[in-house]
């Protein structure tokens, strides 16, 4: 997966990059299955691999950036970016290596298995997290309107 994500950011052609990202999303969905999150694995495949990547591919094809492929791939100051990222990575390593397991909740594997994963997620989503759910729908509505306004041709 790490190799695939490196390939995403180094591919010359944006279309190749999108295809590598498709592979990454499939791997992440498989990881969700290992972690007993079947509903999220399905959502990952349908939403990310199905919708968002198709949107990316569609816009890349529409803009026809063939002449942009040749020429430099990276910014002028790319060593600074790499150094910054590596230093933050080292900074993150210390807290991760000293991770302490917190208290466990009530949703054990057996409890979720008895109720099925999708049903549990739905029940919590529509009871405890109902208001954030409504806000998410509002965000999506604003995104639809904003995308249409931005992409509209100026008259």
């Amino acid at each position: 997966m790490i190799l695939i994500s490196v390939l995403i950011i180094t591919a010359k052609n944006p279309v190749n990059s999108v295809l590598w990202m498709l592979a990454l999303f499939f791997h992440i969905a498989a990881l969700y299955l290992f972690l007993n999150a079947e509903f999220l694995a399905a959502v990952q495949l349908i939403l990310y691999a199905g919708a968002i990547l198709v949107l990316f591919l569609f816009v890349i094809m529409m803009l026809n950036v063939r002449e942009e492929i040749t020429g430099k791939r990276f910014m002028k100051g790319w060593p600074i970016g790499i150094a910054l990222v590596v230093s933050v990575m080292l900074l993150l390593y210390f807290p991760i290596s000293r991770l302490i397991h917190g208290p466990v909740g009530q949703y054990t594997i057996e409890a979720v298995k008895a109720e099925t994963n999708a049903k549990t997620v739905g029940r919590i989503l529509f009871t405890d997290y109902l208001f954030p759910f409504e806000i998410a729908s509002l965000i999506l509505l604003i995104a639809i309107v904003g995308a249409m306004v931005l992409a509209k041709k100026r008259t």
Binding site: I2, Y32, V59, I139
Partner: protein, 100 residues
């Protein structure tokens, strides 16, 4: 059982690769894709914590993050379309209107 540290390290590495891609690439498409990679890396760690701490809140959060990522991708691509219409370039260092 795989220790949770492995998942968190994987998530951190993928997040940092996404951040590197956002910082060093010139193409705005790939910068936007790097943002998606970063969001996915955070999702991995949330699902891992949700599994190991036996709490469903992490999975609910991942659902919200996916919804916000979809909205963000739509708006970002619309911005790229209007940018390309005005400037006819997808390179981030050619956009210098705000330079003093």
């Amino acid at each position: 059982m795989v220790p949770i540290n492995y998942y968190i390290i994987l998530s951190a590495v993928i997040f940092m690769i996404g951040a590197a891609g956002f910082l060093i690439r010139r193409n705005v498409f790939i910068m936007l894709m790097s943002i998606e990679v970063m969001l996915n890396a955070v999702n991995i760690s949330l699902v891992a914590f949700s599994h190991y701490l036996q709490d469903m809140t992490g999975q609910i959060f991942v659902l919200f993050i996916i919804a916000v990522a979809a909205a963000e991708a739509a708006v970002g691509l619309a911005i790229i379309v209007s940018l390309f219409r005005n400037k006819a370039t997808v390179h981030a260092d050619k956009i210098t209107e705000m330079k003093g």
